[in-house]
């Protein structure tokens, strides 16, 4: 049995989710980044905010080309455009 990945939110996404780390575990049917985006957008009533292409996804600290599989991932991060320092 595989454990659920940690799901992290950064920047303006934390305003939408109200948290920096997801507390719900995604259903086992969610196997790639596309379905994960949809699942989270539905939870927070994001109106597509999580589907926006400017939001990049990192799987285990590497930004991935999507759709990407998430099965077996330890950590998944939703990254809005970075703002620089």
């Amino acid at each position: 049995m595989s454990t659920s990945p940690r799901i992290l939110y950064f920047g303006k996404l934390t305003d939408l989710t109200g948290k920096s780390e997801e507390t719900e575990a995604p259903p086992s049917s969610i196997a790639d980044t596309t379905s994960l985006r949809q699942w989270i957008d539905n939870i927070y009533d994001g109106g597509g905010a999580l589907l926006d292409a400017t939001i990049r996804i990192a799987v285990d600290n590497e930004i991935v080309a999507e759709p990407a599989p998430i099965v077996g991932a330890a950590e998944i991060a939703f990254m809005p455009p970075v703002g620089g320092g």
Binding site: F10, D15, N61, M79, P80, P81, V82, G83, G84, G85
Partner: protein, 153 residues
């Protein structure tokens, strides 16, 4: 040398330590960025910077190593604040040391352009009226960074 810190730092002390470390160099350049007290929309009361470790550190390290490859540097150092900051606080310190001045000037400029655009930070301003706004890079920051795409150093 790369440091991310959530504590205030003294840029003067950083420069003294860097100068001691860069013994033998003929030129040292340092840049200190401060939290501006005013944004376009008015006074700023707090700046919050969020990083994603270790991606943030890895990216800065790659830019540091790129600078070392492009210019003949004796040493390079980057210190960046994260977390909550007040206007006037030092937010970033970059120092470079080389035998002659141009390499040190250019490498410091290059590192700052990386830090202002591609570095993995999310930045939120709290305005004096309590509004909180996430900030994205200015177009000018991207134009500055693009200068390095055409040059080989």
């Amino acid at each position: 040398m790369i440091t991310l810190t959530d504590r205030p730092f003294d840029a003067t002390e950083k420069l003294a330590a860097f100068t001691a470390r860069a013994g033998g160099a003929g030129a040292i350049i340092s840049f200190t960025g401060l939290v501006r007290p005013m944004s376009k929309s008015g006074p700023v009361s707090n700046l919050f910077l969020e990083a994603y470790s270790p991606m943030t550190e890895n990216g800065i390290r790659a830019a540091h190593d790129d600078a070392i490859r492009r210019w003949p540097l004796e040493a390079a150092e980057i210190v960046h604040r994260i977390g909550d900051m007040s206007p006037g606080d030092a937010i970033v310190f970059v120092a470079t040391a080389s035998t002659h001045r141009r390499a040190a000037f250019e490498a410091a400029d290059f590192l700052m352009d990386y830090l202002k655009t591609d570095a993995v930070f999310w930045k939120k301003e709290t305005r004096a009226n309590g509004d909180e706004v996430w900030i994205e890079p200015r177009n000018e920051d991207y134009t500055d960074r693009a200068r390095w795409d055409q040059t080989t150093g």
